[in-house]
Symmetry: C2
Subunit: 136 residues, 2 copies
Amino acid sequence: MNVETKRAGRMTRQRRIVMQILEESQAHLDADSIHALARARDEKISLATVYRALALFKQRGLIEEQRLGEGHGHFEKAQDTPHYHFTCSQCGRVIELEDHQVLELARRLFTDQGLQVETIQLLVSGRCGECQENQA
Amino acid sequence: MNVETKRAGRMTRQRRIVMQILEESQAHLDADSIHALARARDEKISLATVYRALALFKQRGLIEEQRLGEGHGHFEKAQDTPHYHFTCSQCGRVIELEDHQVLELARRLFTDQGLQVETIQLLVSGRCGECQENQA
DNA sequence: GTCCATGCAAACTGTTTGCACGCGC
DNA sequence: GCGCGTGCAAACAGTTTGCATGGAC
């Protein structure tokens, strides 16, 4: 048993399913989607369990929660590469972009003020390429 | 009557109160706080009316809504100077910081990908100066 | 066998909506 | 006085929680 497994509490069938879904998916699923996907593998898994698993993984730093401007949260596996989310205000698609420069500049901006930075989220909205074409 | 006024709908007592509160307050009040402050000036004003006024003002571009990581929204008057929000993960206080550099760098990052940027939000969390002292 | 994790349903928070009345223009 | 705006309460979405049962170790 490795450290990861130990720290994550009991590795139940349900938690394994939720983690697998997050690992296989590319990004930013919401709790309902995860629940729907989980049900395909286990009829009986409840939404509450999904939320509890997500809360646990988040606390352990295994996943991250994003608020993409909407009322509900999105979850994705913690990644080494910092990346940002662009939400199309027209079609709702979310585009991820990698970058270090902005992150570092922003971090410096805050640490210069004596603030200890833990997380940085950059949320951008606008129109994606396709929606610009379709309207032009 | 100018276009702005017409587009903003009827200027009722309730809407005037909500707008006054937003103008007088420094920043980022949530709907409940606005409602509480509004009640001090009008006993009968309802939370629904506050939400409707906020939705209207937001649509008109008079105010902006921020999601500061929590489940509920915060509202503040639209400002010319771009600024960012730092939320202390310990005491919950929100600190605003002005900046152009990060904004422009970020904007370029996205427009270079053919994305049309409408809004940019930078959300940072960490520990504020006071909380660092109190724990050190 | 001991606890932690689960399922279910009910509670809860933040926000929106249907409807009849009220008021700005 | 017409029609939008309001208050109230009920509906709603997303998330959390209490409790009895079930399963990991």
